[in-house]
Amino acid sequence: MDMYAEEIISHYEHPHNKGKIENASASMHEHNMVCGDDITVYVKIKGNKVDDIKFDGSGCAISTASASMLTDFAKGKSISELEKMGVSDMIGLIGVDPGPARLHCATISLKALKEALFMYAHKEPDAKTRSL
């Protein structure tokens, strides 16, 4: 079945960028009540770019693999670029559409990342981010 493509399983078994960043520029914790997915994203900003990014927590294969791929992708990207990301970018990034019931698993790491970036900019998260 597509949802558990080799790449997803492989990222789930060996997630990239797993752990904490001490002295992070910003971090954000997200918890999903329904699943019990629990994630914290840490970012280190240099200039206007993500210099380093890690995530910690526990979750299902979709949420873990998504976080692993997103953190790979976000490294070196500018804040403005990441702030524009939405659901479709995330689906494109992980290569599977998890369907309505599991969509939040795919987007929980993006939500935490974007919220961390808003926090860094001393801004309230926008509606698009809140609804992720």
């Binding site: 079945m1 949802m3 558990y4 699943c35 019990g36 629990d38 299902c60 294969a61 599991r102």
Partner: protein, 414 residues
Amino acid sequence: MGIDVKRIRRDFPILSARMNGKPLVYLDNAATSQKPRQVIEAIYKYYTQYNANIHRGIYAIAEKATQAYTDSKAKVAKHINASSIEEIVYTRNTTEAINLAALTWGEANIKKGDRILISEMEHHSNMVPWQLLSMKKGAKLDYIKLDSSNSELDMQSLGEQLEKKPKLVAITHVSNVLGTINDVKEIAKMAHKHGAKVLVDGAQSAPHMKVDVKDIDADFFALSAHKMLGPTGIGVLYAKRDILEHMEPLIGGGDMISTVDFYSCTWNSLPWKFEAGTSNIADAIGFGPAIDYLDRVGMGSIRQHEEKLTKYALESLEDMKNVKVFGLGKENLKKRGAVISFGIKGVHAHDIAQVFDSEGIAIRAGHHCAMPLVTQRLGESALARMSFYLYNEEKEVDKAVQAIEKVKKIFRID
């Protein structure tokens, strides 16, 4: 006396449906049950032949609707051995039934410093209303602990807590996570000896076994129609007549009053004083044939069938490597309902449910609305759960076992 599952299955139109291209295997009965055509047709018949408001119209179809609504209550009363329909209050669901007890009886009887005793295996529906009430009143909420097996209530803990003289013991009859059947009759006896009132959350018992509120000696008993072949939107609060007599209504409006002048009113008789406004008439009428269906098959036979299925499932799962089953083992079948929570090492419950879904099998994954039990006592973030009913068969258990094998294959687990 075995039940004729083949014949029963023909009464449930959805059981011939497909999910993701596979025949539907419905193993999420603890969440909600499927509905036989007798229930679906009764609702259709009401809307197409005698739709009218109840307790008002002086015309034939209104009288017929009122009669059907009252008949449904009479069936429930008889089914759980209540004294009369005066003791049967319709709510939306079990949660609302428990909240009704908390907001009326609790409001009047729980005072600052009083204690309310519940257990660690409660569903949120029998936990949060009491948390809210305790916070509001400055009362203390105590817990009956689980024993060392994390499967049953620790009766010594119950005894100790009762010494603190709680005003109320609110306890689940069957755990929706562990499947454990609590000896509510014994608990009620002990609680009454210490002067407490007893509320039993029957959401997971009423669908699956004979419930006799008089034999249990429950002061309150709550259940949901939708888990027992009936429609969504109907729940029941049973309470002893003298308790209901002394309870103030929660919601004011039409139908719950006897007389009204501009500044005061008197309440309608039981149970109507708790049912303000137009009720969920169609679904109440649909609940009648659901009770008839259960009575026709027989609660004893249903229980026996589920016990057999549970045994079969526990035996099928016990030798599977890296599969953990929660709750009592097969040697304790008499104390276990047809609910089997399980986990596969290294796989999140939602991924398990997703693979099951691809095989056409509906199971539940999550904390099952019992977060403290699942996360704090069992130490899991989420569990997968299969739960059976009268229409399930052994071959469906076999399919579930095959789906577990598939999960293990995808996740490269032994």
